[in-house]
Point group: C2
Chain length 243, copies 2
C-alpha cells in the first residue's frame, strides 16, 4: 500500500524564476485527499546526474516518487535519460509511443519527434483518452510532463493505481485572534491529540480573519474532538467561522 | 563571493496543498538578477531533525541557504529550534527582539510573544525600517518568515549583503513554431554556446505563441550571438517577437 510519497520538480526555469510552479500544490492536495503523506519535495536542474541522485535518495524513503518536467523533444528535456541512469536500464524505442506520434504527426514524423519515443527498457506507460501524454512508470517513479494542464489530465490514471483505503479528513477554523492569543491552546491540543495534524496560518491584509487553524487526521471523530478541545481554550468572540 | 545558493521551504502546509508557495519563484528571480546560481530547492515538513538534516546537506554544496517559513509563535513553528540543532548552538533570548516585541505589544507582552525572542547563540539579526520581521542569519543560512509579503519586505536587507559583481543578462524569443520544429536548432546552438543557458518552454492554449526560448548568460554579446545563431537556423516566419 502506498503511504509515503515525494515529489521531484525538474527544470532550470523553476530555479531562475521564469516559471511559477503549480504542480507541487496540485499533487500535494490530491495526495492528501487520498490519505497519502507527501513527506518532502525537491526542485532540481535539468542535469542528469543530479536528477538520478535525487531519485535514488527519494525512492529510498518513499513508496512512490512523482516527477514533473523535462519530458519533451528539446536539449533541456533530460528526465527520461535520468530515469535510465537511475534505474540502470538502457533507453529503447517504445513502439506504443511511436504509434502515438505517427498518428499525430503523420507524414511530418521525423527524428525530433522520435526522440520522445525513447523510454528506459521495461518502463510502463499509463495512457488513456484523457491524457495529453502517457505517464511513464519506472520502478516506483511516475514521470509527468511539466505543463500543469498535462499533469492534471494524466493524474486520474495514476490516482486509480495508487489509491488505497485511507483518506484524510480535515476541519478549519478562522479566527480574528492573532497567533499569540492561541499559541498556548495550540500547544496543549497538539500535545493531547498526537494523531491530529494541527496547522496555524497567519493571514495578512485580510479584514475577514487573522489566523486560520487546520485540523487533519484519519478519523473524523478524532479531528472533531481536537477542534472542540481547541475551541474550549480560546476566546469564543474570536471565532469567525468553522469549515 | 556568493555564487551558489539553495532554498529550503519549510511547512506542512506546502506538502498538503493548503498553500501555494510563492517564495521560491520570488527568490529564484531575485538571485538570478544578482548572477547567483540557485542550484536546488527543497520542501520539508515542520520536523526539527528533517530540517536540520536538510540544512546540513544544503550548506555543504551552497555558499548560502535561504529558508522560508516556520518562524512564529505556535507549536508548528520549529525553524529556530532546527537552526539551533543544525548549528549546534543553544537557544538564547535576544534582547534586540525582546525590545521589538515590547515596543509592539506593550503591556500585553507575555510568554507566547517571548517565544519569538529565542535565537541560536551568536545568530545575527538583519533588520531595517522596511522589514516586517528581522531575518536571522546563522552561519551561511538566512531564515525568512513564510508570509510572502514579509519575505519581499526583508529581501533588500539580504540582497545588499550578498550582492556581488556579477549579474546575468537574458533574451527571450516567442515562436509560433512547436518544439519539434526547433529541436535540432536548439541542439546545435546549445552545443556551440556552452556559456549560454538555453531553455525551451511550450505554451498551451495561448493563441499568441506556442514556444518561448530563453537565452541567459553572464555576457550580453555572447547571449546576443547565441540568439542570432538560433534565428539563422529556424523558419523566420515562425518568430512572433523578441524580448
Amino acid at each position: 500500500m502506498v503511504q509515503r510519497a515525494s515529489v521531484l520538480l525538474i527544470g532550470n526555469e523553476l530555479l531562475t524564476g521564469k516559471i511559477q510552479d503549480e504542480n507541487l500544490a496540485f499533487l500535494a492536495k490530491e495526495l492528501f485527499a487520498l490519505g497519502i503523506t507527501l513527506d518532502r519535495a525537491r526542485v532540481v536542474r535539468d542535469h542528469v546526474p543530479s536528477i538520478a541522485a535525487d531519485l535514488r535518495e527519494l525512492t529510498t524513503e518513499s513508496d512512490v516518487v512523482f516527477t514533473t518536467g523535462g519530458v519533451g523533444p528539446t536539449h533541456d528535456d533530460v528526465t527520461i535519460e535520468a530515469l535510465s541512469v537511475f534505474a540502470n536500464r538502457p533507453l529503447v524505442r517504445s513502439s506504443a509511443i511511436e504509434e502515438l506520434l505517427a498518428r499525430y504527426f503523420g507524414a511530418e514524423l521525423g527524428e525530433a519527434h522520435l526522440r520522445l519515443a525513447r523510454i528506459p527498457e521495461g518502463a510502463e506507460l499509463l495512457n488513456g483518452p484523457e491524457a495529453a501524454w502517457p505517464v511513464l512508470r519506472v520502478d516506483r517513479v511516475y514521470a509527468f510532463p511539466g505543463v500543469p494542464a498535462a499533469v492534471r489530465r494524466s493524474w486520474p490514471l495514476v490516482r486509480e493505481r495508487i489509491r488505497g483505503e485511507r483518506s484524510f479528513v480535515g476541519a478549519a477554523i478562522f479566527l480574528s485572534l492573532d497567533e499569540f492569543a492561541i499559541a498556548k491552546a495550540l500547544d496543549e491540543v497538539s500535545g493531547a491529540f498526537p494523531a491530529v495534524a494541527i496547522g496555524s496560518y497567519p493571514r495578512w491584509g485580510d479584514p475577514s480573519y487573522r489566523t486560520k487553524v487546520t485540523f487533519d487526521g484519519a478519523e473524523r471523530a478524532e479531528v472533531d474532538r481536537a477542534l472542540e478541545a481547541f475551541r474550549e481554550r480560546i476566546d469564543p468572540a474570536g471565532v469567525v467561522r468553522v469549515e
